[in-house]
């Protein structure tokens, strides 16, 4: 009698290697990309970029400082020049020089009393500005804000 015997057949299955599951995942893939060299480069970048930024900022500050210093010197120099000009103007406007020029160059002479006339000049009418009294709102605000009230007092 023939008995039916179940045939066993082995099918080859491609199983993942140990650790392959991990390599296949996203984190694994990332880890695979960050080689030590990459890591070193990134670290260097993280240090160097802020350092470069700091140095360039520092340099800019120093450069601006020198520019300010130059401007300060320019201000001082202009002030000195202005002072020298004020001295020159004062010397040119001195009564002694003006009199010398008036007498010498222009031939002017001192007027005698008889050459002078005293005129009676009426004093100009003093224009008094019309000052209107404070409005209700001004009074209220004056009441609330003592400072403004004091300022509005004459």
């Amino acid at each position: 009698m023939l008995a039916v015997v179940a045939r066993t057949r082995i099918f080859p299955v491609l199983l993942p290697e140990p650790g392959a599951r991990e390599r296949g995942s996203r984190a694994g893939r990332r880890r695979a990309r960050f080689t030590p060299l990459t890591r070193a480069l990134v670290a260097a970048l993280l240090v160097v970029v802020p350092a470069i930024a700091y140095v360039s900022q520092s340099t800019a500050t120093t450069r601006t400082g020198y520019a300010i210093l130059t401007l300060r010197e320019e201000i001082t120099s202009l002030q000195a020049e202005n002072a020298r000009l004020v001295v020159g103007v004062s010397a040119l406007k001195s009564p002694e020089r003006i009199e010398r020029a008036a007498r010498g160059r222009l031939g002017m002479v001192q007027p005698t009393p008889a050459q002078m006339a005293a005129l009676t000049v009426p004093s100009p009418a003093v224009a008094v500005p019309a000052v209107s009294g404070p409005t209700v709102w001004q009074r209220v605000s004056a009441l609330l804000l003592g400072r403004e009230a004091a300022a509005s007092e004459r």
Binding site: A91, E99, M116
Partner: protein
Amino acid sequence: MGALAALLFRLTQLQVVRGGRLAGIAQRQQLATIVLEPHRGRLLDRRGRPLAINVEATSIYAVPSAIEDRARFSAQVAPILGLEEDDVLARLARGRYFAWLARKVPAGVVARIKALRLGDQIGFRSEDQRAYPNGVLAAHLLGFVGIDNQGLAGVELTYDSTLLGRAGEAIAAHDGMGRVLVETQRTAVDPVDGSDLLLTIDQVIQHITERELDAAMVRTHARTGMVAVMDVPTGEILALALRPVFDPNTGTRARPDLWMNRAVSEVYEPGSTFKVFLAAAALDSRLVDTEQKFFDPGFLKVGDRVIRNANGKKHGWVALGGILRYSSNVGAAQVAMRLGRSVFYRYTTAFGFGTPSRVDLPGEVAGLVRSPAEWVSPRLQTIAFGQGISVTPLQLLTAASALGNNGLLVRPHAVRGVRDRQGRTTSVTSGQTGRRAVSAESARAVLRMMTTAVEEGTGALARIEGYPVAGKTGTSQKPAPGGGYDSQRFVASFLGLVPADRPALAILVILDEPLGAYYGSAVAAPVFREVAAQTLWHLRVPPRTQLSEPPPR
């Protein structure tokens, strides 16, 4: 690997182990305290015109530690700076890092020194230098400053603390070339510039006064001269001129005897100008009235001394007005005897004689008024005509102002107010003292007498067309070195107020030892007239009477 370890080791050593100490050393080398110098306040005339301002000047210093060959260095710079080589070497020996070589030198000298290219052996520093653009104008009143801009005379000295301001302080790092690194500068104390002073003098009136005084000095060959103009109601000094004079720009290089402001620092015997105060005392005390007459035979015997009038003139019976008009010494002596020493002394001191006027100018002296116990004959009589009493010119002018101010004394002053750098007035000076010397009636009565003295008496040459003048001449002998008085040396003076009906100006003219004519009426009165007339025109004071001719068309 080994090299890296060595580097790390060195890094740790520098940054961690010695880091603190090295950082401290670096800070000390780079950081320095900077003194922020304030600018000295300006002096302005009463209308804001500058009389003393600051300009920039360069000072030169050496850095001794940077100089290798000092002999060569001194040989190079000494001739340019006008110094001896030994002097330069001595200066270099005084400090290690800093030694002044020359302060506030002209630009040409700076350029020549820079051309030597001495590098870090020498340095230049900008400093304020005081400049007086009008030269000698008002020199004695303005004064001058020293090399460090400290006031040494005049208003510059009295108001030194106001003008000086306050220095500030900052800390900053320096680069390798010694430049300040602005971004590191931290101001600890802000500098405060000095305030400006608004003076009482008017540049134009001062010029008029000096011009007329110069002309008088040439005319009379006087040894010294002085003219002062005061605003009667306020006591403000409008002009103060003295001769000989110095240029404040030359500062301490000028002769020291020229610096003294004789208007406040020197006393003199006022002579007959003092009679107006005798008259005021006589009227105010009611011991003498305007009608009472005294007999003047030309001399008066007092003990063993004989008092005489000038030129031995006899005036006969004269009232108080006549005594002023003819400048009678004999009459004045009799009035003084009528007053008595205690009354006369009281009024003398009431007018401010014998005490400083408290004017804001340095070096003021009190004058010399002896105690009444010492006013024994003939001193009482001689004081009546201004001998035996010493006053400063400014005291005399201030007392005269009291007569023009209805008997009220004012305090003379040279500064109207103080202005900050923004031009805001921060303080104002007042000349009011509230002290009364005599009543208003007495003061007015004396002014009337002084007016007559000019119109009809000795002060004829002081008359000004259109304006009534109240004045009194003075001619006093100078004390002789061996005692007594010198009959060859005189002080001529004129004291006047104008317009007499409402005095605006009090003017005193003093000429010391004029040659030739020496009477106050002849040499001082014309100076008064010229100064007063031009000042009245300048101040636009209208004439009181119609001028003789209409102006030409």
